[in-house]
Symmetry: C2
Subunit: 203 residues, 2 copies
């Protein structure tokens, strides 16, 4: 690997990494990526299960009413987004683990582009799902008196609490996906770093 270190020396005003430092940074980035993908898989499955299997039955004047996640489209979107991101993270985590076992630390450009694009899509998808579900749960918790939309969480307390736990879990998933999308941007765009030098001080 010493040849990589020699290629990595920069003649410009950008800090120079030595070979061993570079390997340590790469390994740390790789381990962080693997941990985050495992966290996303675990919490994505948990969030989908918490929301998807959440049911509460209430008897109101001898009529049985059932609250379930399909009553609100934002919750359906949240479950689908979590299942998608968990599956995606499982596949990416396997790729990441295999490449670590093989000892290869850098990506080639096409693969780096695929991973970067996938991570970006998943980060914005989960973020949008959490924002939409969060907005719906604010309506459910507080109502919207100006529009005569009444709060429903005083009727279905257990249901709402479990949905809240699912949304909290999804929030951690989406923040982890945001961090991962930064890591995959780093892994991709540093492959384009051949133009350091003179004009970097002018901005």
């Amino acid at each position: 690997m010493s040849s990589v270190a020699v290629f990595g020396v920069s003649p410009g005003n950008v800090p120079v990494y030595h070979g061993s430092d570079l390997k340590v940074v790469d390994r740390k980035v790789r381990i962080t990526e693997l941990v985050l993908r495992c966290v996303i898989f675990g919490l994505g499955v948990l969030a989908a299960a918490l929301v998807g299997f959440d049911v509460q039955v209430k008897e109101i004047f001898s009529i049985q009413k059932k609250a379930k996640f399909t009553d609100m489209k934002a919750l359906v979107f949240l479950v689908i987004a979590n299942v998608l991101v968990a599956t995606y993270s499982l596949l990416q985590g396997l790729r990441c683990g295999v490449s670590m076992l093989r000892g290869s630390l850098l990506l080639n450009k096409p693969l780096a582009w695929v991973i970067f694009s996938g991570d970006q899509v998943m980060a914005y998808l989960t973020f949008a799902a959490v924002a939409a579900a969060g907005q719906s749960s604010v309506f459910a918790e507080l109502g919207q008196p100006e529009l005569q939309w009444m709060k429903i969480c005083n009727m279905y307390g257990k249901f709402c609490t479990q949905v809240g736990e699912g949304i909290a879990s999804s929030l951690v998933v989406s923040l982890s996906m945001v961090t991962l999308s930064c890591i995959s941007a780093f892994n991709l765009f540093r492959l384009y770093g051949g133009n350091k030098g003179k004009s970097s001080g002018g901005w």
Copy 2:
């Protein structure tokens, strides 16, 4: 600038940019950035104005009812997010324009980090605002019969149409911000590109 070209030659298996190509790419990236920041500023102001000044008064049984954006918290969030992103884009656009006039094409690391972080925050902020407002407008347009939340757009048609135009404008803003955050990631992380070479084929 020919010295930059010499520094930019890569000995690894990553495609080599020549000095003139590099300058052309940098200039194209810079112009795209400036155009996007102008688009975001214009459409951000438009979206905030469309939603913020949207009012419709209806007389129902001799009682005057007024629909305005403050009736729905998601629309208040959307207006604030658009004002923030428009102001941010104006400042960043000025910086971008000044640096183009000065002829400097590369960033230094601290500034690249500031721009990258700001762009990321703004991209996710506008995306969350659009998702939350979109979710609310689905409720307003279709209602949610399972929860006895009635649709309101059949009463306030003009109000809803104008809000819809504001959300569409915000969607373009958020997609432009996503593109910009990719550009600023490129501008930042290519400064770290000193480690191309041997192991990139193994993934």
